[in-house]
């Protein structure tokens, strides 16, 4: 997938000016609301006309000032924040809307496979007004995917959902796009969603692209300015009871958490602020997790220093202030002990 975008658009006091080439299969566009993300999506899809510029997808020109291909010819699907299903059609009618309009030789997505991936088989005959919020969004995903788009735009598709649904839908979005190998551009103001969905992230503010990096790099850059610090995402295995706590395998290490889970795999969030570093092994501490780590690198972000730690093959990011670095003599290659309370972890629902 090769998407070339040069766009200028001005309305009122807002001025959008972007020039970028996108080639990653999973691209994110990250920025606060009002930064021009949705306008960018509308212009790529052909729903809004740029004042000036160029849009090329896989070498084909979609817009160049004189040429403005209508949205129905672009074969670019959109999943919006709200499902916007057709209220007069059944679930099946909604799903087939795009498929029926796609030329037979361009159809690659199999209806039955998609229904299975999204687990919407039991909803097909129902009217869409009788579906729950999460079901509607799944149908909206299916409808967009069945139109066999060359590129799928996801415009804040999770922000209208509650936390539990959000992570469910993330799973569906990822598996659908992988199953049918559809490249996508994921738009969101949530850094966590970016890290779960995108490889390469365009950072957008005030109608300009102010940076491009991996989601991981972006999260590290924002460690110092973010109120919650850097959020470590820990992939944990199946838990077992350990007294009043629960023990989880984390790579080769073992962690004690206060929350249990009956899933085989889960992701736990851990803020860089909740990790305390010791130079030597402390005699006795109340925090239930004490991990011996090797310092891999240091990076500064704002007034904070991020410490990348290696812990039994896992990576952990902690944050400290400059004074602590000096006092503890934290340097790459050195050994430190990281203490984390069992209650500091937060399980991602899903």
């Amino acid at each position: 997938m090769e998407l070339r975008i040069v766009l200028q658009k001005r309305f009122g006091s807002f001025d959008l000016d972007m020039d970028v080439a996108i080639s990653h299969f999973r691209t994110g566009v990250f920025g606060p609301s009002g930064s021009g993300k949705s306008t960018l999506v509308s212009m790529i899809a052909g729903l809004e006309r740029p004042d000036n510029g160029l849009i090329q997808l896989n070498g084909e020109t979609l817009f160049d000032g004189s040429l403005d291909m209508p949205p129905d010819k672009r074969r670019i699907g959109i999943i919006f924040q709200h499902p916007h299903l057709f209220p007069h059609l059944s679930t099946q009618g909604n799903l087939l809307y795009g498929l029926n309009r796609c030329p037979a030789d361009l159809r690659r997505v199999d209806f039955d496979t998609l229904v299975e991936v999204l687990q919407i088989g039991h909803l097909l005959k129902r009217g869409v007004n009788h579906l729950s919020g999460g079901e509607k969004q799944r149908v909206a995903i299916g409808r967009a995917v069945l139109s066999n788009p060359r590129l799928l735009l996801m415009d804040e598709p999770l922000s209208a959902l509650d936390d539990t649904l959000r992570f469910q839908i993330i799973g569906y979005l990822k598996s659908v796009c992988e199953t049918f190998s559809i490249p996508f551009i994921f738009i969101s103001h949530s850094l966590l969603e970016m890290r779960l969905m995108a490889d390469q992230v365009l950072n957008v503010a005030g109608g300009r692209i102010i940076g491009s990096s991996s989601a991981e790099e972006l999260a590290r850059q924002r460690l110092g300015s973010s109120q919650v610090g850097y959020i470590n995402l820990l992939e944990l295995g199946r838990s077992c009871e350990a007294g009043t706590l629960y023990a989880y395998p984390w790579g080769a290490a073992r962690l004690l958490l206060s929350a249990g889970s009956d899933r085989d795999n889960s992701i736990a969030e851990l803020s860089s602020k909740d990790i305390i570093l010791f130079k030597q092994h402390p005699e006795a501490i109340s925090a239930r997790n004490l991990l011996q780590c090797t310092v891999r690198s240091l990076f500064s972000s704002g007034r904070k220093i991020g410490v990348e730690l290696e812990c039994s093959g896992n990576t952990l990011i902690s944050e400290v202030v400059q004074d602590a670095v000096t006092e503890l003599g934290i340097a790459p290659g050195g050994t430190v002990y990281a203490a984390v309370k069992a209650s500091a972890f937060r399980m991602l629902p899903g």
Partner: protein
């Protein structure tokens, strides 16, 4: 108890014929005008809005007179378009249809427009990104979702058409059996010495038809609210 003669039956049938023809003929134009005013941005939109709604506030007699001037033998359309084609409209039932259509048109457009404005614009955008051209989107999304507005508008216009008097009497005249609709027949009876009973009876017919149509309209509007 007086009973209807063939002239009264003719008046009732003619009223129904004129009203339904006027409504059917106006539908595509009404839909087009509502579509333009809801979905298109263009210069002169306000002028179109005013022109469409003007018959709502103009006295029907004025409309009738303007139509007479326009469509008559000396009128612009009458002389340059109708006469070469051998069409004579004035003082025929077709003139009654035209007069009725013009008078009822704003009601039709208003209802359709309200129906269209209740459609979430994002649904239309979604249909476009799913591969529907604008005409396709119109038939597969806009028409089905504004159908109740279209039906409600048609019912309203039909009811208004049944009562049309002022414009009709000027362009179509009051010829029994040819252009005499229910209101015109009532007008005749009311001005003749012993026509009271017949006038009353025709009024009753008029009330019954109007009530039925308005009930239908009310039913549609309620369903429209419930769905949205």
């Amino acid at each position: 108890m007086p009973s209807f003669s063939s002239a009264e039956y003719a008046a009732i049938l003619l009223s129904l014929k004129v009203a339904s023809t006027a409504t059917l003929v106006s539908l595509p134009f009404g839909f087009g005008a509502a579509y333009l005013m809801t979905y298109c941005r263009f210069r002169g939109k306000i002028a179109l809005d005013v022109a469409v709604n003007l018959p709502l506030t103009l006295p029907p007699v004025v409309i009738g007179y303007l139509l007479l001037i326009l469509l008559g033998q000396k009128g612009f359309i009458g002389r340059h378009l109708l006469e070469p084609l051998g069409i004579r409209l004035i003082f025929t039932w077709k003139a009654a249809v035209i007069a009725t259509a013009v008078v009822g048109f704003p009601l039709l457009v208003r209802s359709i427009r309200i129906g269209m404005e209740t459609i979430d614009p994002m649904i239309i955008k979604a249909s476009r990104t799913l591969g529907a051209g604008w005409l396709d989107a119109m038939f597969s999304v806009i028409i089905p979702l504004s159908l109740r507005g279209v039906l409600a508008g048609s019912a309203l216009m039909f009811a208004r058409a049944l009562g049309e008097f002022g414009a009709t009497i000027i362009v179509a005249g009051n010829i029994p059996g040819v252009t005499q609709t229910i209101p015109l027949a009532i007008y005749d009876y009311a001005s003749s010495p012993d026509g009271d009973a017949m006038a009353m009876l025709l009024c009753l017919v008029s009330v019954v038809i109007s009530v039925l149509v308005l009930l239908f309209h009310e039913y549609l509007s309620r369903r429209m609210i419930r769905v949205d």
